[in-house]
Amino acid sequence: MTEQNTITVENATCTFCGCVCDDMILTVDLDEKRITKAKNACILGRAWFAEHTIEDAPAALIGGKDASVDEAVEEAARILAKARFPITYGLSDTTCEAQRVAVAITDMIHGTIDTTTSVCHGPSGLAFQGVGESTMSLGEVKNRADLVIYWGGNPAESPPRHFGRYAVTAKGLFTPGGKKDRTIVLVDVRKTPSAAAANIFLQPKPGKDFELLWALRALVKGRRLNPAVAESTGVSLEAMQDLAERMKNCRYGVLFFGMGLTMTRGRHFNSGALLALTTDLNEYTHFVAKPVRGHGNVTGADNVVSWQTGYPFGVNFSRGFPRFNPGEFTTVDTLSRGDADAALIIASDPASNFPKRAIEHLHRIPVIALDTKTSATAKLARVAFRTATYGINTGGTVYRMDDVPISLRKAFDSPFPSDEEILKAIHKRVRELLLAGGSYGVATGNKVAAPRTE
């Protein structure tokens, strides 16, 4: 490693999780094309930067065999142009610029687009549509919050810098004492490493979050509780009353919540209960809530799909315009029911993390996968592209968990194209195939949208 060929990239952004810390100082060895140091990164960020090197591997595979990018684009376009119910999925680990092209392709082929939100905070999105949400950007927590509650998540491990950068020890305009000016509450069924940072730890029984949240709503509104609630939730009445009082009397309260609510029985009802509680509290004080997102740009995916279609995820274009229906057009369902006859999977690995029946169907249909590393999904794909890593090899825009948009900085070049480049090439080729007509195109007489010129 020569001194001359090392650069420092300041204000770089780590996109491993939804914290999207943009204060990275990267030391980059341009000869070895590696990041040798990532100052300010947490343990996850350090791994993210260290492990995304240039792998000696083909840029594209067709049927598991080496292929050129052009050949792979051709094959991918052929698959998508012919499909009757193509699905696009993933998108949480790529730039907004790429996400926009993905929506454009799906619109054009009258497919269905869904993002990893549907298996993450999709239920919170549904709850949002029912209840609304009182929320904030993370700097408000730093500057104002004197009560911070983490519910159904483990920030010490996911995501680690949340405490220090935003919510617990961070010192702000009206919280110069940092942690001393705050009370931290942790609510979780198991005592995780996060409990060490908490002043109060509540441990409800598994699957009882809704009941506990509803009981807190009642207490906040001054109703009397049936004492049996303590037994069923595993949390004492005293503890509930204490928490309700603290919530009403704080000056700026924050409820962060995670998968403990969305992934358990009740799903959007759990998130909805929490959001409703937050709204109720605004009759007494200023209270906000925020779902904690796990991927670097899943919030970007929500935003892009929402502004382009009107709906955040689970969007179908079969009739030539967007229709929203979680449960029908979400990917676990379109795969498990066998609806999809082709899949474009971008920056995601459903073959690892989806239910068995969904994975089985992925094996039966032609899959086009874009990923930076080999994954189970890339292995089963008919066409696999190895792409550049966003925020390391590319610029682009991402949205932090609180909807703050940030521009990425490139650390070093990659020989592999970015997701955006691949998707644009696919878009162009699919359009040509559809316009040529003949045996391609959906039977409904596909009308094709012009590519938007950038």
């Binding site: 300041e10 204000n11 952004t13 943009d22 907004c96 926009r100 619109d107 949002f128 549509q129 029912g130 209840v131 609304g132 949400e133 009182s134 929320t135 904030m136 950007s137 993370l138 700097g139 408000e140 730093k142 500057n143 104002r144 935003y166 702000g172 305009l173 000056r251 700026y252 709204t279 605004n282 007494y284 004080t285 200023h286 906000v288 935003n303 929402s306 502004w307 382009q308 279609t309 009107g310 709906y311 274009f317 009739r319 030539g320 315009f321 967007p322 229709r323 929203f324 825009t397 932090r400 909807d403 703050v404 948009p405 940030i406 521009s407 009308k447 094709v448 949208a449 012009a450 938007r452």
Partner: protein
């Protein structure tokens, strides 16, 4: 892609050039209006048609973090109003908060070619620019929210006026904004920091900053005028919607003195009566003041019955409106800068206050003696969707229609306004002013809102019809930057449109001063804050004077 055009036989309404319904030829070349017929021009025979410059919406909410929250919030709002794609256009969804593609295309189908997003937080500017890039056809820009900016208030508190001015100039530059926006100035801090309180008195000093809303209004008005921005400070006054707020509105305008100031959706700020009791109309007082003060411009913010979405940086207002129905509600605080509130809403004819609001808006239009400065808007989507502009135009032009509509609304509200006695009918020329020439002039957009040589070739051609709602709903031709976008009522081409922004000069030293505050109290890095040019795509800097 721009073709050369020769538009003949149409009746031209170009108030900026004193053309009032004369049959004139219009020539287009290279995206501009030109004086002479270009060679090889395509001819459009506009016999029986009315030609106007493309519409200019001076105040709407169409792109950015707040809009997208409202969009995501209401799938039911879009579901009944799909926007199918075509060979040339992307699909989308409608309702009161349409998706971005649908927004652009629908403005085009009304013959509008420019729209200004009225309220964007600096930290959200990047997001707004991304959405505007996906808003086709129209030229667009936005106003940046600075009226509750903590650092700027601190500077005012400390009497650092020169630095305040430089910081404002820097902020407008850094965000690529068109002008500064104030929303309920001074109201953000009590909302976030004092258990959801608000500011009610324009002279009430903030407990935290020691300055009053009037101090803020005065400072911004002065600075923006000094900076020579083409459009002055754009203000959503304190006490929106409250009975008796006419006092606050008049005092706000008086604070400006003879300096330019633009009041947003002034209808919502034209209420008499006592605080806490039912409002009355104070439209006449407000119209009087605006009429007699040429430095003041405003947009009406007309309420139209039916569904709307309240989306505003006036977070306490949104919470108050939620109180009536206790339905879904969104509040989003933005660190050090602003906030917003969103509430699905609807205005109903039989409800006294809604009918009163509707009437007050119409009173303001009908009492206006200077259509150049009392401009058409519904504060989309707060007062109603921009898709209701044709109906509003008909209400202004067609006295009989207006009378029929008045019969349907709350009678008590009608009696407490002058509306039943106002017989005025707007002429096509006046409509061209309040929807095109006036807003373009108020925005300082010399090349828009007019059809003289050198102007942008943004042209709308309507079939002249008796039913003005029908007429303005469906222009036969819409030309944008010389591109024929709509011909014979159908889309022919897509078009990206450009970002309009200003770049006032500022002293570089201020950057270090802002940085120090920023590094302590924001949650992102200062060097990642300002918006880079990569988000502008096709854009135009409108010069300062």
């Amino acid at each position: 892609m721009a073709t050369s055009l020769r538009i003949i036989n149409g009746k031209v309404y170009d108030p900026a050039n004193n053309i009032d319904g004369e049959v004139r030829e219009i020539f287009v070349q290279d995206g501009r209006i030109v004086a002479d017929a270009p060679a090889d021009a395509r001819t459009i025979d506009a016999r029986g048609m009315v030609i106007m410059p493309g519409g200019v919406d001076i105040h709407c909410h169409i792109a950015g973090p707040k809009v997208n929250l409202a969009r995501k919030l209401q799938p039911e709002d879009h579901r009944h109003d799909p926007h199918p794609g075509t060979l040339f256009t992307r699909s989308g969804s409608g309702g009161t908060v349409p998706s971005t593609f649908a927004t652009g295309y629908r403005y085009a189908t009304l013959g509008y070619t420019t729209a200004m997003e009225a309220a964007v937080t600096p930290i959200g500017a990047r997001h707004t620019l991304e959405e505007l890039h996906d808003t086709p056809v129209i030229d667009k820009g936005f106003y940046v929210l600075l009226g509750n900016n903590i650092f700027l208030q601190q500077l005012l508190q400390e009497g650092r006026r020169e630095e305040f001015k430089q910081a404002v100039a820097w902020w407008v530059n850094a965000t690529k904004a068109y002008t500064t926006k104030l929303v309920n100035p001074g109201g953000d801090e009590p909302w976030k920091g004092k258990r959801n309180a608000n500011v009610a008195d324009i002279d009430e000093k903030s407990e935290v900053f020691g300055i009053s809303p009037r101090n803020i209004i005065d400072a911004f008005t002065g600075v923006v005028n000094e900076l020579g921005l083409p459009h002055p400070v754009h203000i959503h006054c304190n006490n929106l919607g409250h009975s008796g707020n006419v006092y606050t509105t008049l005092e706000t305008m008086k604070t400006a003195g003879d300096r330019r100031l633009h009041l947003a959706h002034i209808q919502f700020h034209s209420y008499g009566g006592e605080p806490g009791k039912n409002p009355k109309s104070a439209a006449a007082e407000i119209a009087d003041y605006v009429n007699s003060h040429p430095n003041i411009s405003c947009d009406v913010g007309q309420v139209m019955f039916g569904k709307s979405t309240i989306m505003t940086a006036d977070a306490p207002l949104a919470y108050m409106l939620r109180g009536f129905k206790k339905g879904k509600w969104v509040n989003a605080d933005t660190e050090c800068e602003s906030g917003c509130g969103i509430v699905p809403f609807s205005y109903q004819e039989h409800v006294y206050v809604h009918a009163l609001q509707w009437a007050i808006g119409l009173e303001l239009f009908l009492l206006s003696r200077d259509p150049w400065r009392i401009i058409l808007s519904t504060d989309h989507p707060n007062g109603g969707s921009f898709m209701s502009y044709p109906k509003l135009i008909r209400l202004l032009m067609d006295r009989e229609f207006r009378k029929e509509e008045m019969k349907k609304v709350n009678k008590k509200a009608m009696r407490s306004t002058r509306l039943p006695d106002l017989d005025r009918e707007y002429t096509l020329n006046e409509i061209a002013i309040i929807t095109r020439a006036g807003p373009a002039r108020a925005l300082g957009l010399k090349h828009k809102g007019q059809l003289g040589p050198g102007a942008d070739a943004d042209i709308t051609i309507y079939d002249e019809q008796e039913d003005k709602e029908l007429m303005f709903s469906a222009p036969r031709y819409v030309i944008k930057s010389g591109d024929l976008i709509i011909a014979d009522h159908e889309f022919r081409n897509d078009h990206a449109g450009r970002i309009l922004h200003v770049a006032p000069a500022y002293d570089e030293d201020i950057v270090g001063t802002v940085r120090t505050f920023f590094e302590n109290y924001y949650s992102i890095e200062f060097d990642n804050y300002a918006v880079s040019d990569q988000y502008l795509y096709d854009h135009e800097v409108i010069s300062t004077t």
